[in-house]
């Protein structure tokens, strides 16, 4: 080890955005030919650090060494020249360009396009063979699945001769099989001597795939350890700064009467595409019914119909009474009156009004409640007082009701939404992506609240793309694919492999390796009526 210089060495990197110190005196060494994980909660400064390395931001202080040589990285051009490639969490692709056009953008060989494209086509073919990075060079990005789009991002970096590849939360949008394929690609790249930095908040990925791992907390690097010498519990503690319960602790469910009954529900979206294709299920009091699936397979539309945000056909009944699906009483207001609370999937667009204060956000949807009014006016003082109590109980930090919703972190915003919806004591709680973009400490709290509600005998419908979350919270798991329920499973007896296959639309176990079946299936879907992911 002593003979080789580290592929990347950062010394004393600091960066502040206004009063917020995003990175504090960070030093790190990554050896060539390794996969190095960087883990930390949202806002811990992981992405900022990598953006500095990629020349997207300028560090206030500190030095960067690439392969032992001190290197200035004022912009992305310099990072690319130093052999650094980055796959962002939100892909930086031009949607209506072809794969090959995206690959050459910014790395053209001359002023004319034709020779550049010919050259790129050849080198794409080579890279595809070398690293299992197959993708049609003439396909338009918008026609590709998310997994294939990610391959284009990796190809872009490799085409620019990157030796160091940074991936920011690469598996957030992938099915388990797609994620497996990605890690096989990364493995190949490592074997070729490339250095990989993997930013993630998923402890499992760190444990399984990395050689070394650095933990960040509140802008500081708290530890760098060999993966083989650490444990998920230790990493979680380093991330949060206290002991964290990783497994959700819950008693067996005690299901009561059927609360929600859905029969043959169909939903067609504004573009005339059928998104939910006739699904039926029951949820009982005191149970959590989890719906797993890759984003975009009809879960969102299902939640929106149940929450009164769009119309559908079929029958829904709540506590044995029919629920209006298309008429006058099919709106969110009527749903709430019937005892259905809704924590929407997208808290920024649907759960909160970010420019409004926290206390205003704690009554939206319930603002007609007479207890908030005094005559024609709102009784603001009472609302603020109540909001403060709710924020205390749901551990919203800081518990200041007059702050705007946008000034809270993701986890605390989600707690505000939960406080509003749970405090109404609903019969049925609809929860979509409750922990998306929420840090570990807050995840623990949110999960406990959901289970507490279940133990009080409420029915809960949970939709999440995080398979781990579905598995640890649900009492029954349904998998949605292409608008249909592929089947129901008992979380005690099923495993990730089986659920992963169902998420890719495969119900039986084939003989061929799972990832291959999934690959073929996705390709088939892509060419026909594709369920668009993301």
């Amino acid at each position: 080890m002593s003979g080789t210089a580290p592929a990347i060495e950062l010394k004393g990197i600091s960066k502040a955005f206004g009063p917020v110190q995003a990175n504090k005196d960070i030093s790190i060494r990554v050896m060539p030919g390794t996969i190095h994980g960087i883990i930390g909660e949202n806002g811990a400064g992981k992405s900022t650090l990598m953006s500095i390395l990629y020349g997207f931001y300028k560090a206030d202080k500190g030095e960067v060494f690439i392969n032992g040589t001190k290197t200035e990285i004022p912009d992305s051009q310099a990072a690319i020249a130093a052999g650094i490639g980055m796959v962002f969490q939100h892909f930086k692709l031009v949607e209506n360009f072809t794969v090959v056009e995206n690959v050459i953008l910014g790395a053209e060989d001359g002023a004319m396009l034709t020779p550049s494209i010919a050259k790129a086509r050849k080198s794409l073919k080579q890279l595809a063979e070398e690293y299992e990075l197959n993708v049609d060079p003439d396909a338009k990005i918008e026609d590709l699945s998310v997994g294939h789009q990610q391959r284009v991002e990796i190809l872009k970096a490799l085409y620019r001769q990157a030796d160091i590849l940074i991936l920011d939360e690469p598996t957030g949008v992938l099915t388990p099989a797609e994620a497996d394929h990605l890690f096989r690609i990364l493995d190949n790249l490592r074997n070729e001597g490339k250095t990989i930095i993997l930013i993630t908040h998923k402890l499992r990925e760190i444990m399984e795939y990395t050689d070394t791992v650095s933990v960040m907390r509140q802008g500081e690097m708290t530890a760098t350890v060999k993966t083989a010498e650490t444990s998920p519990e230790q990493l979680a503690e380093l991330m949060v700064g206290r002991k964290v319960l990783l497994r959700v602790d819950k008693k067996p469910a005690a299901p009561g009467d059927v609360v929600l009954s859905v029969k043959d529900l169909k939903v067609t979206d504004g573009a005339g595409v059928e998104r939910v294709k006739g699904i039926s299920f029951d949820i009982r009091a005191g149970e959590i019914y989890g719906i797993a699936g890759v984003a975009g397979n009809g879960q969102s539309e299902l939640m929106e119909v149940l929450g009164g945000m769009r119309t559908g056909t079929g029958t829904i009944s709540l506590n044995g009474e029919p629920v209006d699906l298309t008429g006058k009483y099919s709106d969110g207001q009527s749903r709430r009156a019937r005892g259905i609370s809704h924590v929407p999937e997208d808290r920024h667009d649907e759960g909160l009004i970010l420019d409004y204060t926290a206390w205003e956000n704690t009554i939206f949807g319930y603002h007609r409640d007479p207890k908030w009014s005094s005559g024609p006016l709102m009784n603001n003082a009472a609302i603020i007082q109540e909001a403060e109590a709710k924020m205390q109980r749901f551990d919203v930090r800081p518990p200041i009701p007059t702050l705007k919703a946008k000034s809270f972190s993701g986890g605390n915003q989600q707690k505000i939404v939960l406080a509003r919806e749970i405090e109404k004591n609903p019969d049925l709680l609809l929860v979509g992506q409750p922990t998306r973009g929420v840090d570990i400490g807050a995840i623990e709290f949110i999960h406990q609240e959901i289970i507490r509600l279940r133990d009080e005998g409420k029915a809960i419908l949970l939709v999440s793309v995080e398979l781990d979350e579905i598995r640890s919270l649900s009492d029954r798991i349904a998998v949605m694919f292409d608008g249909k329920i592929m089947g129901e499973r008992d979380p005690e007896t099923t495993d990730e492999r089986e659920l992963g296959l169902m998420m890719a639309g495969i119900s039986e176990e084939p003989d061929k390796p799972a990832w291959k079946a999934v690959e073929e299936n996705l390709e088939a879907v892509e060419h026909g009526e594709a369920p668009k992911h993301g």
């Binding site: 930086k92 050459i104 953008l105």
Partner: protein, 322 residues
């Protein structure tokens, strides 16, 4: 309607379509790069005034043309600084430029020439004169093709030929060069361009600059080729019509040629109410004919021509996300 009359109408279609085409291509460069430009109108107007004024004062239409381009470029730079550098609202900046141009041109014209806000008439070398293409006279007697060549294709000013040559050139730049690829990318997803190590600001300024040049030529054409001097508000909404034509053309150069020719044709027949009366046998109000291009503009903007998808990052200032 005889053959010669048809040729006359088509001939004036070409003359009237030229400023629209130049302005439309100007908008195409800017909007393909993600900068909406409602200020085409103002830039044309400013260019029309300064080209006429300088052409009158120096007696050289070429200096006039340069002055027109310079005026238009100055307004383009203003738009670029407001909307690219300071990430302001592109519509507001464009509207401001239109107001500025409408007021300033008349004010300065009155101050310099004291003719009620117009420039003196241009004559001789102060105007672009028509060019007779080679063999036009000798081929005139060839049936059908002769008159087409002589009356329709030959006999325009140099700017008309420039405008029409700009169409294939624009197509080639956009779809066959590195600059074009980057320009289109920056209008679709500037973050992709930025992370590829290419300057978003540089590309957008280049696009706005090209827009300024083309608007300058369009304005100069109005005052020194189509007319003989500047009069108040002489652009007469052509900048807005060009924007409608651009949407109609779905931001593509060849379609831009076709859509501006359509508008040019409507303007051309508005000049010949007698022809309409002879053809359809009913007298149509001149006012209605004059309004036709504007009515078509409204129809196009109301979306009756199918879905036009603008460049996805259009109108949005580029801010690096954290």
């Amino acid at each position: 309607m005889d053959f010669l009359t048809i040729l006359q109408v088509l001939d004036s279609t070409i003359r009237l379509a030229t400023p629209l085409l130049l302005a439309c291509l100007a908008g195409l460069f800017s909007e393909r790069a993600g900068i909406f430009d409602i200020g085409l109108e103002g830039k044309m107007l400013a260019a029309a005034f300064f080209s006429a004024a300088v052409a009158y004062m120096t007696g050289s239409v070429w200096l006039g043309l340069l002055a027109g381009i310079a005026a238009s470029m100055a307004l383009s730079a203003l738009h670029g600084i407001a909307s690219i550098t300071f990430q302001g609202n592109q519509l507001i900046s464009g509207v401001a430029i239109n107001f500025l141009a409408a007021g300033m041109t008349v004010l300065i014209a009155q101050d310099w020439f004291s003719q009620g806000g117009r420039t003196p008439s241009l004559t001789g070398a102060g105007r672009f004169n028509s060019i007779t293409l080679p063999f036009a006279e000798s081929l005139q007697s060839v049936p059908i093709l002769g008159p087409i060549y002589h009356d329709l294709i030959s006999g325009h000013t140099i700017l008309v030929y420039v405008a029409f040559l700009m169409v294939p050139l624009t197509w080639w730049i956009l779809f066959r060069t590195r600059f074009g690829l980057r320009l289109r990318a920056v209008g679709e997803n500037p973050a992709a361009v930025d992370t590829a190590g290419v300057s978003v600001v540089g590309l957008r300024f280049a696009a706005v600059g090209i827009c300024g040049i083309l608007c300058g030529v369009a304005g100069a054409y109005l005052a020194t080729a189509l007319q003989a001097g500047f009069v108040k508000d002489m652009s007469a909404g052509r900048g807005y019509i060009a924007l409608a034509a651009l949407i109609f053309a779905k931001w593509r150069p060849w379609y831009a040629l076709m859509s501006t020719m359509l508008f040019g044709f409507l303007q051309a027949i508005a000049l010949r109410p007698d022809l309409i009366q002879n053809t359809i046998g009913v007298k149509v109000q001149v006012q209605l004919l004059d309004a036709l291009p504007y009515i078509l503009t409204v129809i196009i903007l109301a979306g009756f021509v199918g879905k036009a998808i603008p460049p996805r990052a259009g109108g949005e200032p580029y801010v690096k996300e954290r």
